[in-house]
């Protein structure tokens, strides 16, 4: 299958350009770009407001994507799906919703592999209410987390917020088993909320809300071939409060009582005119993924991982992540003790290979690894073995230049 031809960006870059930064954002297929354009050219009207034909159609299209997202992640109902700006906004909504629910002395559990966006909103919540953050540490091969009873006080746990996939190591955490483990160890009278950051997971395999059994799941459109500026928050049973209030979400305003009533869920969660074209584009991205098919996507990625790990044997870097192909996605971070990550990335840029360098918005993980930065190559649906060969050739040149 020639996936690259579906993505116009590859026609507008040098022919030997290798894009290995899909972990930062994915490129967009023509189907998504066309959907956004089609919305403005033929379907643009505000949603949930006016009642003429085009406005009704726009609302139908918008709500149709909500249904599509519910089916994409196998939620129980589309009413559990809220459109946000991105993963980061979704985490903030969940954290601030739980402000009145969590108490002083309660524990919020995070893992060492979290992205800053699934740390800082919880740090703020913890500081607002006097809660404590406890951390699940990574195991030695960076292929998972270790649960040590000295790290976690199960009798005080109120919230567990974990990433499904590390954006640095590519490790897939066994979320389903971790949630089960917490449920077994936490006293039965405690009501614990489980939140999962799916930002790095959604484009790489089928995620299933009924199977994961979490309370909240959040992800961004732009990491799964959809436009930027649209994200999703799944909240089981609609268990969240609006972070933004204003138009669109309010049902009634009472001047005498100085009060307002919020609309039923999920409309009451989306204040202001939403990112209409973004949501529409997200729908097209889901259609595109379904059209390519999970079977192809997962098999193709696994082949690339096996191929890459084999080719990396010729290189002299230290791989920051599991050196095996199971329970991981196509994200490979690496470190040369004598070359700065930016200088590695610069060398690859000269060779037309796009990678990311730096701390990757995972500051606690970098501190744990005692590194200021790493270089990361991350794969997408369009990545090929040729791209990996290109990366390896580029790195060999870098090694030669810096005499590694």
């Amino acid at each position: 299958m020639d996936i690259k031809k579906d993505f116009p960006i590859f026609r507008n870059q040098p022919h030997d350009w290798s894009y290995l930064d899909s972990g930062a954002t994915t490129q967009k297929p023509k189907a998504v770009i066309d959907a956004v354009r089609r919305f403005y050219e033929a379907g643009n009207a505000n949603v949930h407001r006016s009642d003429y034909l085009l406005a009704r159609k726009a609302t139908e299209a918008y709500e149709g994507v909500r249904k599509k997202v519910a089916s994409f992640i196998n939620a129980y109902s589309e009413k559990e799906i809220i459109f946000t700006k991105n993963t980061n906004e979704s985490v903030n909504i969940v954290a601030q919703s739980l402000r009145g629910w969590i108490s002083k002395g309660d524990v919020i559990v995070l893992s060492r592999a979290e992205h800053n966006s699934n740390i800082v909103p919880w740090l703020r919540l913890a500081n607002q209410v006097g809660a404590e953050i406890q951390w699940l540490e990574l195991n030695e091969d960076l292929g998972g987390v270790v649960i040590r009873t000295q790290d976690i006080d199960f009798t005080r746990v109120a919230i567990v917020a974990l990433t499904q996939v590390s954006n640095v190591t590519g490790t897939i955490l066994p979320i389903k088993d971790l949630i089960k483990m917490f449920k077994t160890n936490i006293p039965k009278d405690r009501d614990v909320k489980f939140a999962v950051d799916g930002a790095q997971a959604v484009g790489h395999g089928q995620v299933d809300m009924r199977e994961l059994d979490c309370d909240y799941y959040y992800f961004s459109g732009h990491k799964m071939y959809a436009p930027s500026g649209v994200g999703v928050l799944y909240a089981k049973g609609g268990n969240v409060l609006p972070l933004l209030v204003g138009s669109g979400m309010v049902d009634d305003i009472f001047i005498e009582k100085q009060d307002f009533v919020v609309k039923y869920y999920p409309d009451g969660m989306e204040a202001g005119t939403p990112n209409l074209e973004g949501v529409y584009g997200l729908g097209a991205a889901i259609d595109y993924i379904w059209q390519v098919g999970w079977e192809y996507i997962t098999k193709h990625e696994m082949e690339l991982i096996v191929y890459a790990l084999d080719k990396f044997k010729d290189l002299h870097f230290q791989l920051i992540g599991p050196n095996f192909s199971v329970n991981r996605i196509g994200i490979f971070s690496f470190h040369y003790p004598t070359i700065h990550s930016h200088d590695v990335a610069q060398g690859l840029d000269v060779a037309n290979v796009a990678v990311r360098a730096g701390h990757h918005c995972a500051i606690p993980l970098m501190k744990y690894l005692n590194l200021s930065g790493v270089t990361r190559a991350s794969f997408g649906i369009y990545t090929t073995q040729k791209d990996i060969d290109h990366l390896v050739r580029g790195l060999k040149d870098v090694e030669k230049f810096y005499k590694v």
Binding site: H340, S341, H342, Q346, G347, H359, F401
Partner: protein, 118 residues
């Protein structure tokens, strides 16, 4: 293949201003917010003049060379002069207009912000 010009690599491989200072009158630490690099700088200011500056940290080729060249340029200049240099002027003076600017200017910004705030 060459990733940086020879002049840049020569400066990187033989730095002149790394280390610590005997009796510093100022000490600064700063992070490059784009990448997490850390630089620390210290030195001696006497009668409003930058008499000695040294630096260290976890730095890439460009931020190292940017520090070397900017120290060379600022040595014996006054704090007043330091505060009024623009980014464009510094990049031009250092001959680093064609490289990553947030790295090239890390040392300069570290010094400028420190003295602007005291």
């Amino acid at each position: 293949m060459k990733f940086y010009r020879d002049e840049i690599m020569e400066i990187y491989e033989r730095p002149s201003y790394q280390g610590i200072c005997q009796n510093p009158t100022f000490k600064i630490a700063r992070k490059n917010q784009d990448c997490g690099d850390r630089i620390h700088m210290e030195g001696v200011v006497s009668q409003g003049q930058l008499q000695q500056i040294v630096y260290g940290g976890e730095l890439c080729v460009i931020s190292t060379v940017g520090a070397e060249l900017v120290i060379d340029f600022l040595k014996n200049k006054t704090i007043h002069q330091l505060l009024f240099y623009t980014d464009e002027r510094i990049l031009q003076e250092l001959g680093l207009e064609d490289v990553r600017q947030h790295c090239a200017l890390l040392a300069f910004h570290t010094l400028q912000e420190h003295f602007r705030n005291i």
